[in-house]
């Protein structure tokens, strides 16, 4: 495309619904901040 550059596709629509919500990823507050919850910057353990 000429006018639009996509940085990220439909990352919230995963094909495999059975695989999402596995719960193995970090609990937000444990990772660094301890006072506020930012989940967008966590990593998925399945990647």
């Amino acid at each position: 495309m000429k006018y639009i550059k996509t940085l990220s596709g439909k990352n919230l629509r995963r094909e495999d619904l059975a695989k999402i919500g596995c719960g193995e990823c970090q609990t937000s507050c444990q990772s660094a901040c301890k006072t506020s919850c930012t989940v967008g910057n966590q990593k998925c353990e399945q990647n």
Binding site: M1, K2, Y3, I4, K5, T6, L7, S8, G9, K10, N11, L12, R13, R14, I20, G21, C22, G23, E24, C25, Q26, T27, S28, C29, Q30, S31, A32, C33, K34, T35, S36, C37, T38, V39, G40, N41, Q42, K43, C44, E45, N47
Partner: protein, 452 residues
């Protein structure tokens, strides 16, 4: 069908459009950015006439086609996610714990939620026995989850370090017995760090959070020793030593900003200049009446500061990709799945805090609030209704979040912030929302700049 939601903004020389529901993110030119103000409400002909003399007709038609294409692909205005009836953590699995191994501290930081290092008069330490019970509780209540997280917290956990060491060893035994992988972390003020402790931490802790507020004068104003002296000069060399020896393992130097330093980018910069590359500096959470509290009159300054700092951050990272500011990190492609983004931090069900006595609370921020005691290691969760309240506090059940463009990045914010602001877990803390939204915009504009 109703059009799904988009959010667009201009920052750091980039026009950015987020498709809220699919998570797609696009960098566009000025023309597309302007056309989107009318797309869907006006026909192509009308749009062409609106921009007559501003944009070329042919270019407008092409751009319109590109937008159409993305709409068809469900990457713009895509419909709301259908998670059915999101039943979160039906089996009540617990996978993370914050162990308050010492309700005692050797500093008295003004804003500490552990109340001036004296815990309302009572100084207590977790016994090894209680700690072991906690780890067993976690192993037994974690179902088929393998990765379990345990944070040693306080007060100041180094004041009970032998217990910390013994619990790490015990965790390794439980790893084998239950086929788990305990990940340990620790949050410390650094006062008691010595070579042995540094080596132990570096060897055994997956992450370490080092509390310091930035510039000396900023730190020493809030983070005082028991004798009212500044703590900076005592602590900085110890943190430096720890980080130098840490190699590539995770750590964060973590500060708090108050209304005294809404120019907190200088503190972040100071950390960087001192050799710390992984930095987190966060807004203080405290009742509005405290003299250092962040109030609505400080918001503009704080938001401007985030924007200004994002520019500097882009510059620094051009030369040094190891520099990380926690709140500007975002992973668009490999971030958490939609379930995680809908339910948030997991406090009160997946995540619990344990007091030195073995009482259970939804998270470290609620420890000591009588109404929030969930149960104990001996009895398990007694207040099941309270657990339900936490489980249901997700982005679909909070009115403000339901329509907020940031919902899948923020995940509904911090329950403790909501509670302390409104005594209601479903009402987000407004100031926090504005800061969070700005940080998300900054993060994405940074990515867009690094994409070149």
């Amino acid at each position: 069908m109703a059009r799904g939601q988009i959010h667009k903004f201009y920052l750091n020389n980039k026009y950015i459009v987020l498709d809220v529901n699919s998570g797609a993110v696009h960098m566009v030119d000025r023309m597309v950015y302007d056309v989107l103000d009318h797309y869907g409400d006006k026909s192509l002909e009308e749009i062409v006439s609106i921009f007559d003399g501003v944009y070329d007709k042919e270019a407008l038609e092409e751009a319109y086609g590109e937008i159409n294409y993305l709409v068809e692909e469900e990457m713009l205005y895509s419909p709301e996610n259908d998670l059915g009836d999101l039943v979160y953590n039906q089996d009540n699995i617990v996978k993370a714990m914050c162990l308050h191994v010492a309700h005692d501290c050797n500093l008295k930081c003004a804003y500490c939620f552990a109340s001036q290092g004296n815990f309302k008069g009572e100084r207590t330490y977790m016994s090894l026995e209680t700690g072991k019970k906690a780890l067993e509780f976690l192993a037994k209540n974690s179902g088929n989850r393998r990765n379990l997280e345990v944070d040693f917290f306080g007060g100041e956990p180094l004041m009970n370090f032998q217990v910390v060491k013994d619990l790490v060893a015990y965790g390794r035994e439980l790893d084998k017995k239950y086929n788990k992988n305990f990940r340990f972390t620790i949050t410390t003020n650094g006062v008691l760090l010595d070579e042995d402790k540094i080596d132990f931490i570096n060897e055994n802790m997956d992450n370490v959070v080092l509390s310091l507020d930035g510039r000396r004068e900023v730190n020493d104003r809030m983070r005082k020793t028991i004798r009212d002296g500044g703590s900076y000069d005592v602590i900085l060399p110890k943190f430096k030593e720890l980080v130098e020896k840490r190699g590539t393992k995770d750590y964060y130097i973590r500060g708090t900003f108050t209304n005294y330093n809404t120019d907190f980018s200088k503190d972040i910069r100071d950390f960087y200049d001192q050799g710390f590359k992984k930095v987190s500096v966060e807004p203080v959470v405290t009742p509005e009446e405290m003299d250092y509290a962040l109030r609505s009159e400080h918001l503009d300054d704080v938001l401007r500061e985030y924007e200004e700092f994002s520019k500097e951050y882009i510059k620094i990272r051009k030369k040094d990709k190891d520099f990380l500011f926690f709140h500007f990190m975002i992973d668009l492609n490999q971030g958490p799945c939609i379930v995680k983004r809908s339910v948030g931090c997991g406090a009160g069900s997946e995540y619990l805090a344990v007091t030195p006595e073995g009482d259970l609370y939804p998270c470290h921020q609620f420890v000591g609030e009588d109404d929030f005691r969930l149960g104990s290691l001996d009895t398990g969760i007694e207040n099941k209704d309270l657990r339900e309240v936490f489980k249901k506090a997700n982005i679909y059940n909070k009115e403000e979040c339901r329509s907020c463009w940031a919902r899948y990045y923020c995940s509904g914010g911090c329950h403790a912030n909501a509670y302390y602001a409104h005594k209601d877990l479903t009402k987000p803390y407004k100031l926090g929302c504005e800061m969070e939204k700005k940080r998300i915009e900054c993060s994405i504009s940074i990515l867009a700049n690094e994409d070149e």
